[in-house]
């Protein structure tokens, strides 16, 4: 459903994506790992047009992702995004954050949007927090509101850009649990993450990116359990044994 073919992207003279190709099928959970600066977040941001790419093609259900194209809104309705720093709207309550897209982008009637918004907030375990403002929620709760906000758009896929990297360690679990449930329900997901345990248990496929290239990819147990490439081995050693 998401098809990335040979994309290149540079910031100035710095080539961050160097000919990456990747297919993500319906219902597939793909985890992208790699050192910071390896290009993994940029790759994700290209998929819903938050970043442009210099060459190659990205298509979502056959529509080309092109910032100047008129399909961009339709693509963003299909592919939701969850950010590292949540990016909730601080001037709106949890419920209003979740209703924002359905009401103002999809033009759903308020009553319908509100009913759905309450339902997705329950789904992410935030019943009772509807009227809380983001600043009064913990990081884990905020990220779950952000996931609810993504879900309310009834996307065909969700992109997660290091969704737990800004969280205190004890709050990571609640967010990963919600993501795991989504994966189990068949949501198509691309997840840039440093949570190797999550990747191992939830991902259908793990991609290791380094210096703008896909170095290694395959089922989680292979890439994480028995990495073939020296750079993957080196990266995993540093992640799992930081001291």
């Amino acid at each position: 459903m998401i098809s990335i073919r040979n994309i290149c992207k540079s910031f100035g003279s710095n080539l961050v994506l160097d000919g990456i190709s990747l297919e993500v099928g319906q219902g597939e959970v793909v985890c992208i790992i790699g050192a910071s600066g390896s290009g993994k977040s940029t790759l994700l941001r290209c998929v819903n047009g938050l970043e442009t790419y210099d060459s190659g093609d990205i298509t979502v259900e056959g529509e080309r992702v092109d910032q100047t194209g008129k399909h961009m809104v339709a693509i963003r309705e299909k592919v939701a995004m969850v950010f590292q720093r949540f990016n909730l709207f601080p001037h709106r309550t949890a419920l209003e954050n979740v209703m924002e897209g359905p009401i103002y982008v999809k033009r759903e009637p308020r009553a319908v949007a509100e009913r759905n918004a309450r339902a997705v907030l329950v789904q992410v375990g935030l019943a009772g927090k509807e009227n809380a403002y983001p600043e009064n929620l913990s990081g884990g709760q905020q990220q779950r509101v952000a996931i609810a906000r993504a879900l309310a758009m009834q996307p065909h896929a969700i992109l997660f850009d290091e969704p737990t990297s800004a969280l205190d360690p004890e709050l990571v679990g609640e967010v990963l649990a919600v993501m795991r449930t989504l994966a189990d329900q068949g949501m198509t997901m691309m997840v840039v993450t440093h949570e190797m345990a999550f990747a191992r248990e939830v991902a259908d496929r793990v991609i290791f990116i380094d210096q703008g290239h896909i170095i290694e990819q395959g089922p989680a147990r292979e890439v994480l359990g028995a990495p073939q490439h020296e750079r993957t081995q080196d990266f995993l050693r540093r992640v799992t044994h930081p001291i």
């Binding site: 809104v73 963003r76 309705e77 939701a80 990016n87 001037h91 897209g101 103002y104």
Partner: protein, 218 residues
């Protein structure tokens, strides 16, 4: 110096109060013009459209660089040559409003640019267009950021309405000059005028303070 006469104050107060009413009117009309135009200049400036942004920037820097007094002269004395006749009052509030729109524009731009880019990305990722993002996400937050400098600019505008006296708008300082010139009671008149301006500014300070409290929380 002659003795400061309290009974003169009582005598001058009603005349000055008439001027104060005009001052408030010039201020209110000027503020509306300044706020609306300022918002337009600010939106043009951050629009990302080079022509609009360039025009706005050029205008702001030009107008800011010309004394308000000179701008008022232009509107009141030069525009009639071009076929635009304005009363002193109209010329006063339009001139002040126009001049202040450039300060307001910078106030609003500051508020808009203070918003975390992540907010705009979140709006984009929901499929919002530029205008919707501005209206639903950026401006409500920018409003809060811009409120304190906006209040400050309002108070400056209140005091700068006195410049309209130069084109014969019969506002507070215009009245005071007339009274002072005819009575020579400079100390009494100008003390009273100072108090009048101060009193006019107090409600503004209170209103802005209340708004900051109300919106400051989020």
């Amino acid at each position: 110096m002659a003795a400061f006469a309290v009974k003169d104050l009582v005598e001058f107060a009603p005349l000055l109060a008439q001027g104060a009413v005009i001052t408030v009117e010039v201020f209110a009309c000027g503020l509306i013009v300044a706020t609306l135009l300022g918002l337009i200049w600010a939106l043009m400036r951050v629009s990302g459209v080079p022509v609009l942004a360039g025009f706005s920037k050029g205008l702001i820097n030009t107008i800011r660089g010309i004394p308000i007094l000179v701008q008022l002269f232009f509107i009141y004395f030069v525009l009639p040559d071009l076929g635009v006749q304005l009363t002193a009052f109209q010329a006063g509030f339009i001139g002040l409003g126009f001049a202040y729109s450039c300060y307001m524009a910078e106030v609003f731009r500051g508020g808009i640019e203070a918003i975390d880019p992540g907010q705009i990305e979140a709006a984009k990722s929901l499929g919002m267009g530029r205008a919707m993002t501005m209206w639903r996400v950026v401006l409500p937050q920018a409003f809060k950021v811009a409120l304190p400098p906006y209040g400050n600019t309002c108070i400056m505008l209140m005091k700068d309405t006195s410049q309209a006296s130069i084109i014969t708008v019969a506002e507070l300082s215009f009245q005071s000059k007339i009274i002072a010139a005819s009575t020579f009671k400079n100390a009494e008149v100008f003390t009273l005028v100072a108090v009048f301006y101060l009193v006019l500014c107090v409600p503004l300070i209170l209103i802005v303070g209340r708004l900051e409290k109300r919106f400051g929380r989020r």
